[in-house]
Structure formats: structure tokens, C-alpha cells
């Protein structure tokens, strides 16, 4: 092995640091390294040293201007949300819930290195349909709000996921296996969260939630704790 390919002296785990900041450790390895980081100043220093290089990598992509139609799409969605947000908050008396859930989501994403699950163009129109979801084996309640084919999962007083785990959302087409919705979330101290579901829910039979290891999985490994049936 050439010079420089050895991990730095002092902690053999620091050999995983580069793969960690690149998001290239296996999920179980990443979780173990994350826990190790909490008590290893050397590895944390290594992470702090390498992370700026990773943060610069996006700029190595050939730079293209954002298409004008994309700009119009984004701004149209933003204006729609702005118009919808006030009546929605009044109608459902959930002022602050989204912000608190968003805070939890961001914190979780930042801590876990995962993507935030956010909804697209969620309409807050009063015509939205509210589906009460089953909560299985844990305490709390959950509702799925549907509007224009898109959904938002609202949980209250929900038990937090077990230590080291997060809640992962699944979309189950009728007669098919559930597929990941690419949304991971946790709840705040009051067990509350508002979780936007990306994409359309058309053709989906049920929205489910399972506790999964941090970082999520590609197939459920636990029984669902929340099931919202759409059909």
C-alpha cells in the first residue's frame, strides 16, 4: 500500500471517514461510524477536514443554466403555497406544526445525511380529502391529507421511532409490493410531524410507515405502524 493510503495513526476507524462524507458507506457501516464519531475527536477532525472538498464537488459538474420553464414552475408552486398556506392554517388549527416537523426533518436529515422528503405543490384547498390512518402497535394518531393527487401525512402524539431508527414512508400499489417514498421522518417532542409526500399518489392503494434503520431501506424490514388506505 502506498504512503497515504493508511488511515492516520491513532484511530483505525478514520479510514472510513472519506467514504462516510462521500455517502459511500453501507447503511450499517454509516450508522456505526456515526456513533463512533460522537466519541472520537480524531475522526471528527478528519471529517471536518474532508467535508469541504465534498461540498465543492457539485461545482465540478458542467454548469448549465436552469431552464426558464423550470424557474416558472418553481415560482408558480411557491406562489400557490403562499396563497394556500393561510387558509390551511386557519382551517386545521395546525399553526406551527409544519415548522416544527420541518425542523425535525432538517435536523434528522442533517444528522443522518439523508434527503428530506418534501411534497410537491401540495394544495391547501379546502376541497382536500382527509383519510384517517390506522396506527398499529404504537400510540398516536395519523391522517393523510390528499389534494390534487398529492398527499401529506399528519401525525400527532405518535411514539418516537426506536433508538437508532427513523420512520420510513412506503407507497403500496394494489397487488404489488410497497416501494419507498423516499421520505424519512421523525417526530418532535410532542409526537407531531407533517410529512409531505413527493409525487402523485394516483394509482397507490395505501401509504404505510415502518420504523427502519437510519438512512432507510429499499424494502420494509418491519411491520407497518401506520397504514392509510386510499382505495
Amino acid at each position: 500500500m502506498r504512503a497515504g493510503e493508511h488511515p492516520p495513526d491513532g484511530c483505525e476507524r478514520s479510514a472510513d471517514a472519506a467514504a462516510y462524507v462521500l455517502g459511500a458507506l453501507e447503511p450499517a457501516e454509516a450508522e456505526a461510524f456515526r456513533q463512533h464519531l460522537a466519541g472520537c475527536a480524531l475522526c471528527q477532525e478528519e471529517i471536518d477536514s474532508l467535508r469541504p472538498a465534498v461540498q465543492a464537488l457539485p461545482m465540478s459538474a458542467p454548469q448549465r443554466p436552469a431552464p426558464r420553464p423550470l424557474r416558472r414552475r418553481v415560482m408558480r408552486a411557491v406562489r400557490a403555497e403562499l396563497r394556500a398556506s393561510a387558509p390551511r392554517r386557519r382551517a386545521f388549527a395546525l399553526r406551527g406544526l409544519r415548522a416544527r416537523a420541518a425542523l425535525g426533518g432538517i435536523a434528522a436529515a442533517a444528522a443522518l445525511g439523508i434527503g428530506l422528503g418534501v411534497g410537491l405543490g401540495l394544495s391547501g384547498s379546502p376541497s382536500g380529502r382527509l383519510i384517517r390512518a390506522q396506527v398499529l402497535g404504537i400510540s398516536g394518531s395519523a391522517e393523510l391529507r390528499l389534494s390534487s393527487g398529492r398527499g401529506e401525512l399528519i401525525v400527532r402524539h405518535l411514539s418516537p421511532p426506536p433508538p437508532g431508527e427513523v420512520y420510513e414512508v412506503w407507497l403500496k400499489p394494489p397487488g404489488s409490493k410497497p416501494v419507498p417514498a423516499s421520505v424519512l421522518f421523525t417526530v418532535d417532542q410532542r409526537g407531531e410531524a407533517v410529512v409531505g409526500l413527493p409525487g402523485s399518489l394516483r394509482g397507490i392503494g395505501a401509504v404505510m410507515v415502518t420504523p427502519e434503520p437510519r438512512g432507510g431501506t429499499t424494502a420494509p424490514t418491519h411491520s407497518p405502524v401506520i397504514v392509510a388506505r386510499l382505495t
Binding site: E5, A18, A19, P62, L70
Partner: protein, 176 residues
Amino acid sequence: MELVRGEDVRAFEVVFDRHGGAAYSLAYRICGSRSRAEDIVQEAFLALWRNSARYDPLRGSVRAWILSVVHNRAIDALRREAVEAQRVRDEFLSEQLSGSESTEAEAEKRDDARRVRLALEQLPSEQRRVIELAYFGGFTHSEIAGMLGLPAGTVKGRMRLGLSKLRFALGAGLAP
């Protein structure tokens, strides 16, 4: 960002104009698809709009935050697609790694982008390759080891060496 926190749509337009191109470029580099890249960028900016009140400048720049969300979502989409479609990895490699080859043909307007690209291109190819496979391809070190026929430790070592050199090459221009 203070204005965006105040739900100022015009301020948000400025934010999009300032960072939309970099976000779209990253998403396109990872996905190789215009429509998917647009979806991902839209999701990222809507997330920013919804969560702007929680933006903490002490934890990084707005650009870093947006690009982090774009990266996570693009890689997630890539992995999901790979699982669902059983995509052939060799095809992916040949398509995705062509980015650096086409670099010279790209109209380059941003000095920092050119600087990062040059620094990456100056890395030994074996180090650049594992970094690109991990960051832009979303592959784990063990997947890369399997693809390249290398021990996992060698892959991780090359990642570390490459990132260290990149950090050194970019020097003080990088935010800590």
C-alpha cells in the same frame, strides 16, 4: 434569506436565479435526464421555501444547503431506479463518467466551477474515479470495489487520498 423567511416571493426569485443553475447542473450530472433533474431541483427549492425560517447560516451557506438536498434526492432517485429497473451498471458507468470528457466543451463562466473541475481532473484517475462513482453515481465503497475488482480498503484509501488532495488543491477558497 431574511426576506425569504418573510415569505417574500421576489427575494426567493433572486435566490433561485443565484443558485438554480448550480442546482440544476448537479441534478443533471447525476441523473442524466432533464426532466428528472428539473423535478429534483423543484423539490429542493420548495423545501427551501417551506423551511427557510429554519435556515441557520452558521451551519453552511444557502448554496451548500440547496446542493446537499439536490444531491441527496438525486442519488436517492438513482438508487431507486436501479433497484426497480435492474439497471446495468456498466451502461451507467459509460454514461455518467463521460461528464469530465465533455468538460472542455462546456461554456465555462464561473471561476470557482472551473477551479474545482481542474482540481478534480488533476487527481490521479484512480482516485478521481472512486470519488465520482461515490458522489455522482451513488455507489457504496463495496459496490465500487466489486466493479473495479479492488479490495474495499483500497477503494476507501483512494477516496481519502483524493479528497485530501482536492482539499489541499482548493485551499483557502473552500469554506471550512
